[in-house]
Amino acid sequence: MLNRTADNVARATPEPLAKRIRGISDKGLAWLFISPTILLLLAINIFPLFWAIYLSFTNYRANRPNEVVKNLGLANYQRILGDQDIWIAMQTTAHFVFWTILLQTVIGFTLAWLIDRKFRGHAFWTTIILVPMMLSPAVVGNFWRFLYEPQIGLFSYVISFVTGIPPTNVQMLSNVELAPWAIIIVDTWMWTPYVMLICLAGLRSIPEYIYEAAEVDRASNWRQFWSITLPMALPFIMLAVLFRGIENFKMFDMVNLLTGGGPGSTTEVASITLKRQAFESWRTGYSSAFAIILFVAVFGLANIYVKALNKVKQR
């Protein structure tokens, strides 16, 4: 009776799909399932990359589809590398990336360290600190533009209250010296919580018994910080730096909303230059070459950095 039931169940159970579709192995079937995803990735990621590489060697302009496309060889690359304006944009980007990462790391780690003390209401304050990160960059850009407004902006009035300078003289977005810092302040305000979260994860991953052992050895708080907290949280800090570095290297939205690259070209980071060349001047071949150069730079730097990160983790 039991055998008959088992046979019935076995008969009712559908055969593996591979057996029903003749000639397809399990491996073949696996490929069949993942091929739509691979095709999609090829279509939206890999093909455009290779297409951009091809265009970077040509004089193609997207606004002149009827014109003959000429092969320029390395001329676009040579022109970009010899273009003073491009180097200024790269310097502006480097300045922005350096200061935002420095400030976000220092403030983010400090906040994480304080939050990790688990004082009363720390969960509430953690949520409050995270709010800027949850906002859309478009919203942040727009309301900071109003805050920086010299005639009605709250920021100008606060600076005026503290320093005594008339608020109309605090022209954060119009002043050549202040405009880069205006963007750094906003980016730091928005993304420090993100760095804080990663650092907090790092701090929480340090086993409590290490601190207890240090207490037994009568290590001071300062000594514990330098010998336990910082080294053990370092891989997390480096990870946060990597994420923010890549993100800020291609920063566009905030700069575009706050200053549009101005005044003049003072805050024109590489992504703004790229957008202007590609979609305002319509130099598609030239901008493709610039995009490839940026891609190689970010890819190369990120690789070097990841190797350093792995070394730190292995220590």
């Binding site: 606004n63 010299p150 003289n169 977005l173 050549v176 005044p263 003049g264 979609f279």
Partner: protein
């Protein structure tokens, strides 16, 4: 199972049929693409008459000025069918003609007896012709526009201010005729207390992203001797773009920006400039003429409080930057017949007269040369005076590249204090030369 299949088929057929019917019902609807601004609203109103007469419905795709060029040039470059009719910017005409985006209208004009001689000559050259000054028409002049100025008539007429001004500068406070006078007025009002409020001299174009600062600074440059090229030798720019006189004009614009604009004026274009005037911040306000009807109607600063004047003259001439657009039929549209019907209707004298009364700026001679025209609106005579002195930016297929170069060089100098005026214009010549060399024109 069968009944479920039947039900599904029936449902699908019903959905298909209803969609098809709806498509048939709106098959002749035309989509007109333009910028989102006051005249566009007037055109919506005006176009109701076209629908009444022809039964052809009108749909509109209006995009804010800051995205207008990006959005519609992308649409044209991708051969999109969104727009059947487009009111494209004057500088697009070269690229649109050479790349086949617009339908050439010569045969249609001949067939329908629409003569370009019936339109203001400057608008025909500016909005319709490519190559310039040849009888090849790609658009019908639709919206005349030009940069001009408004001023606070009520402030200018205050006796105490008039007295103080005359004592200081030796002439009666009134609309300036020259840039020196404009500068003096702007200086006079800068940071002055009027009715307990701090006011400023002038609001001028300084926008960096699209075309703002170029549309502003060219008004001064033209008057100081700037020319795009040697009139006798096309594309020769050395000594014309960067002449010593042109550099003086650029210096004056910077002086005006540094001295006499409200705080935070580093990125001002049409909207911001009009806002500065409407909020009672400035005595003088540079803007395209399309803003004038709205400002005149404004409760706070309009009516008797506002005056209008044409761009002042400079030592080397008297010009104003042309704005405005022509209306074209998009060559990728499937409804070109209907679109041409719209153009024919729009060219009609009565329609053009109504266009003016609704707030659009007609380019038809019969409308603007009507003896009653100068007194039809307080700004009508200033508009006419300004349209007589217009000059436009390059309309070459590479206009976008040329424009971006000028935006950068001028903004770097005027707003960001980078280098000298001469260096800015020298760099501009280099950029433009490179562009024309890339195009094979030099």
């Amino acid at each position: 199972m069968k009944s479920t299949l039947k039900l599904a088929l029936g449902l699908a057929s019903a959905i298909f049929a209803s969609t098809a019917v709806s498509n048939v019902a709106h098959a002749e609807d035309l989509t007109l693409c333009w910028a989102a601004w006051d005249p566009a609203n007037a055109l919506v109103e005006l176009s109701k008459d076209f629908t009444k007469q022809t039964g052809i419905g009108m749909k509109f795709e209006f995009v804010p000025w800051t995205n207008y060029a990006d959005r519609f040039l992308n649409e044209l470059n991708s051969h999109g069918k969104l727009c059947d009719l487009i009111i494209g910017d004057s500088q697009w005409i070269g690229g649109a003609a050479e790349n086949g985006h617009y339908v050439k209208l010569n045969d249609f004009f001949d067939k329908e007896h629409i003569s370009m001689d019936d339109f203001v000559p400057a608008t025909v050259v500016g909005y319709s012709e490519w190559p310039k000054n040849t009888p090849n028409y790609w658009a019908l002049p639709a919206m005349g526009d030009v940069v001009g100025w408004t001023y606070r008539k009520d402030w200018f007429s205050r006796p105490e201010l008039q007295k103080e001004f005359k004592e200081k500068y030796g002439w009666e406070l009134g609309p300036p005729k020259t840039y020196d006078q404009l500068m003096q007025i702007a200086e006079f009002f800068q940071k002055r207390q009027i009715d307990g409020k701090t006011v400023y001299g002038a609001s001028i174009y300084t926008e960096r992203g699209s075309e703002g600062i170029t549309m502003g600074v060219t008004n001064v440059l033209y008057d100081y001797g700037f020319d795009y090229q040697n009139p006798k030798k096309p594309y020769e720019m050395q000594g014309f773009v960067n002449s010593a006189d042109a550099a003086k004009g650029l210096e004056l614009y910077k002086k005006l920006y540094d001295c006499c604009t409200p705080p935070g004026s580093s990125n001002v274009y049409m909207g911001e400039s009009a806002d500065a005037f409407k909020s009672g911040q400035v005595a003088l306000h540079m803007n395209f003429a399309f803003t004038w009807p709205g400002l005149y109607k404004d409760e706070k600063v309009g009516g008797d409080k506002i005056g209008f004047f044409a761009n002042p003259a400079g030592p080397k001439g008297h010009f104003a930057q042309l704005g405005g657009q022509g209306i074209s039929v998009v060559s990728y549209s499937d409804k070109q017949e209907s679109a041409l019907k719209y153009i024919k209707w729009f060219a009609n004298k009565d329609v053009q007269a109504k266009w003016w009364t609704l707030g659009g700026y007609s380019c038809l001679n019969a409308v603007v040369n009507d003896p009653k025209f100068p007194s039809s609106q307080p700004y009508a005579s200033t508009f006419l005076e300004s349209m007589a002195i217009v000059k436009d930016f390059w309309a070459e297929p590479s206009y976008a590249t040329l424009l971006q170069a000028m935006q950068k060089r001028v903004h770097d100098y005027v707003v960001a204090d980078k280098g000298t005026a001469q260096e800015a214009l020298d760099s501009l010549v280099k950029d433009w030369t490179q562009t024309f060399q890339d195009d094979g024109k030099m």
